[in-house]
Symmetry: D2
Subunit: 352 residues, 4 copies
Amino acid sequence: MFEHALLGELLGDEAVAKAFSGQVFLGHFSRFEIVLTEALAAHGLIDSDSAEAIIAGCRSFTPDIQKIRTETVTDGLAVPAYVRQLKAHIGEPHQKDVHLGTTSQDLIDTALALSLHGLNEIFRHDINRLRDSLQDLNHAHGPNRLMGRTRMQAALPMTVGDRISAWQAPLERHQSRLETIGPAVCVLQLGGAVGTNHVFGDKAEAIAGEMAASLELGKPSKQWHTGRDNLVDYANWLSMVTGTLGKVGQDVCLMAQQGIDEITLESGGRSSAMPHKQNPIAAETLVTLARFNAVQISAMHHALVHEQERSGSAWALEWMILPKMCEATACALKTANRLAGQISGMGQVVSQ
Amino acid sequence: MFEHALLGELLGDEAVAKAFSGQVFLGHFSRFEIVLTEALAAHGLIDSDSAEAIIAGCRSFTPDIQKIRTETVTDGLAVPAYVRQLKAHIGEPHQKDVHLGTTSQDLIDTALALSLHGLNEIFRHDINRLRDSLQDLNHAHGPNRLMGRTRMQAALPMTVGDRISAWQAPLERHQSRLETIGPAVCVLQLGGAVGTNHVFGDKAEAIAGEMAASLELGKPSKQWHTGRDNLVDYANWLSMVTGTLGKVGQDVCLMAQQGIDEITLESGGRSSAMPHKQNPIAAETLVTLARFNAVQISAMHHALVHEQERSGSAWALEWMILPKMCEATACALKTANRLAGQISGMGQVVSQ
Amino acid sequence: MFEHALLGELLGDEAVAKAFSGQVFLGHFSRFEIVLTEALAAHGLIDSDSAEAIIAGCRSFTPDIQKIRTETVTDGLAVPAYVRQLKAHIGEPHQKDVHLGTTSQDLIDTALALSLHGLNEIFRHDINRLRDSLQDLNHAHGPNRLMGRTRMQAALPMTVGDRISAWQAPLERHQSRLETIGPAVCVLQLGGAVGTNHVFGDKAEAIAGEMAASLELGKPSKQWHTGRDNLVDYANWLSMVTGTLGKVGQDVCLMAQQGIDEITLESGGRSSAMPHKQNPIAAETLVTLARFNAVQISAMHHALVHEQERSGSAWALEWMILPKMCEATACALKTANRLAGQISGMGQVVSQ
Amino acid sequence: MFEHALLGELLGDEAVAKAFSGQVFLGHFSRFEIVLTEALAAHGLIDSDSAEAIIAGCRSFTPDIQKIRTETVTDGLAVPAYVRQLKAHIGEPHQKDVHLGTTSQDLIDTALALSLHGLNEIFRHDINRLRDSLQDLNHAHGPNRLMGRTRMQAALPMTVGDRISAWQAPLERHQSRLETIGPAVCVLQLGGAVGTNHVFGDKAEAIAGEMAASLELGKPSKQWHTGRDNLVDYANWLSMVTGTLGKVGQDVCLMAQQGIDEITLESGGRSSAMPHKQNPIAAETLVTLARFNAVQISAMHHALVHEQERSGSAWALEWMILPKMCEATACALKTANRLAGQISGMGQVVSQ
């Protein structure tokens, strides 16, 4: 969404858009080829002259993105065109040693892992910040009286702190989950044409280990060309985060109704027709993003039906979905933090 | 997707991306304000001096898009910032007559209708072209023998024409459906703050009629601020089209397997690891796009739960979904047409 | 859901559960075999002795349902076991003429068409009744004052009639759509093993016409073994209906809040913990059913990717989804009618 | 699905159907009331006479299920009617101490936890069994040659063991995940009317601890009335399992094609039209169930938007979805185990 001229700030996120951009992915491809080359040379699969030439070539190479974009229509992915250009750039006699033993999926999935690695830091930070903000709100307004409501009906009185506590609890669990789900997707992909690393023979394990270490990624016990469950688990986490924030947003929208008046928001949205209105835009946006991800998660599960050694159709479905889910999640965390900052009152002060 | 530097041509569509761009929507806003002003003047709700000044102002006005983008975060939509800028541009004494009686949703939904109007022409044309291509394939290969397969098992022999006929039949129905579903979404939105057109009084009907005529849109019997079923019906049509093409893509992938060898494709995709391979990229992409839309359609149905007189959250969900569905559909039609052009043989020639 | 001992009345529907029951489907199979036999005899494909014996056999036959159920695990559908039993019941020499030229899908899809035919009557009736109830509510409370609310904030005053009118408008469109979408799925299926009706030769058209007429179903221009778009269109209609009612339910929940107090409901739900509460159960249920169908519709679109001449997996997905969507729709209409009957006040009476 | 007379064995699962049946849930309600009563008495909130009478009453009580079913329409859930009957059964003077301090959600969510506890044992067992079967297949056929296929095209030769290994890897991860995700949903619910356990005061913690221990459930750090993320995580696990099995099923369908002939299946499904066919029913069913759950998971994420202290609509959505997801998963595991038993050959034996 970030690219949209009008809606990009409201519903998108710049850091995520950048992390999945073509430019950044091409940079990741280059890093992959470099650490591959280093590992191949270390294990004697290519000679050191070739390695030096390839690494230097990767560093001096500027891909023709427009050409890659066009040829991606034919090839179904960007790597073949990228590798053709890189080989041509490196030229004879070393181009035969470029990309040796690997396949497009190795580059693209590893690039994904590298991008997610950076995003996890952002997610971790933004959840932390939100938890702090909620704690501040609890300090400021926690003891205030709030009518507990079930089935949208007034039930029994409780405190603002009771509700904030219900907002906090899942965030704490999401943070804890991220500690295992996050690293599980920041893992090298290395399998070669059909996932058997047949070109590397008995050096496959060692090569993967060195590449993973160089890229600061995890080393998988095995390639995961068709085993996409960690990605699905991650997407599920994304949508659990937005769902949790959607509940907060829905609660705030309900609290902000005239007649209910349980929350005071500063700087709400303006209306083109009614200048007097203060709309709870941030809260509404949280509901929108929750429902957006709740829909998208379905596609990630369909993509588990990933036939044979590589499914062009299931894999491309992930490309269309996962970046948008990351963006919705980052935007929701950003929006929730903004919303927390807009709250100047909650519940009713209990006089002593 | 079209904005993606690497994948934009494979999975996106330029015409759709443009139709939903900020620039084009701002142009639609301007057209709306102009025809509104004309209708208001014709019915004496504003005087002719004001009308002339506003229309001239709309024509000379260049909005500050970056400012609108930023203020959209606060307002939840682009119209308030747009209108503020337009009013400032027009200045005293006429700015009070700008945007009179209308609300943001009137502009945005009407802009959507204008964009869909253009896209329907493209859809109509691309389905026509595909049906022609399939007919050509039928002429070329229809009598050839093809093993009919059920439950992925060889069943009984039939002809290539039998299968092409099964591909054609739903396309014909989709074309026919578009004749009613298409115009149903190319309809003016005009309701004012809470949908009652209360500012226009008994002239509301006439004003809506004139505005619709000027914009070459349909005139609704009533505003449709919360009645989003025609949009859902349209989204359903989009996803039926991609589902139909997904079936074709899946069939082609199966026909192209070595050992089955029921189709010959020219210019398939290349592999970075295996130069000998010819991958059925276009066919796989059709499956991807079918599953993409099959997931997205769910969100449009959730957006039917559009509370009270305007739901900020349900409406924004449409913004995130419908353009992508249009883009996937346009891309699928384009891809199917490309695929049809790649087919140089089907089935087995029956010797006489 | 209807089978659930506790929740069956709340979330299920007896008529729909029955229409998709094994017993009713077996009855439809029998009708299919009878009209097939009549048509085959009329066209000389079987002799009249055979026809008489088969028709008599169909009428006297009581299938062993438990055996069919067990053998369905192996066969993937109930028809092979059913036909084996029917043939054994009819015995020599006529059993070779039973089920001649047809395939399991012909029976199952035709049975579906027959069941949907009955359900459409119920849907038509229940929407009519609801529109009448809403009109009655409009007569009783329409002129009352209601605060128009946008983005969950008070906007401008309007009338109860304005809101009821927004509830009515999509129902009217759904009724009109049912007139074309309903008959489109009440259509005979007849294609034989791979959809070519090869056993019937040049009599296929006539046989299909006579069978359709006997069953009071539409005659398709062609079999629709893999062309499932009419079913998807129908499912889309179901979910548009529940989405429309979900909007009504959401509005009523919001109107019923203490502090808002815009609606008076008789006989709300009781709480096990708080005897004083009156919960808007019917209204909440409408929201639940709307979201249920909004999720299910996705599966019907996935099932459009129906490979080759019959997809066991895509087709069985329909069986798991469409009956539940029909049930949710029937339950929602029933619930909306109940809700309408519980409303004893809306908005604020305007004194003169 | 299990209740369906014809399809129940193919697409349903008896153990899951039973675990979510009204009868079993009523049994769980009774266990809840008994352990609640014991804990209340132990902490002096009710006297021992009352406790004895209530416990005896719970044991001798046979609820009128039909009456509960009917009253559930009004109340929105079964507990109020159940508690009314139970209180009447126990009578004066002790009925005031029945259900003390708790709410319907405490019973229903705890009953869910008890049912899931039993199902987790089944899932654990069935995955184990499947992993063993795959290992057996690997022993029998692992060294055989198999063409590795990417994008549905022959790529490079590999072994049957390579593919089986790709089937195994996610199953191992699912098993490991179940060790944390499983217990996380087998947790007592105890919050009272608005989640504050206000009736229990400072004894709430101790009461919850004792009840959880008696029921052999986990004790939550806090009630989870609105914090449904553990359930969503669990549902995600269910759908990851079916997705993994769907990939196996899709692979088997592709391997079983004539012309590919990479797998030999015993006892495939029969056709009503073509007695010679052997359909890979079990494999197709795995694909169906994968797509079924991939759709349903979306609803669980929507149900995270669970407003205020209890959402009647979001919660009831879970009731409609989670049992079906459990059933699809159990059925898929059962089906995969059946499929494994049908495989008598894979790949091509390599002569030495």
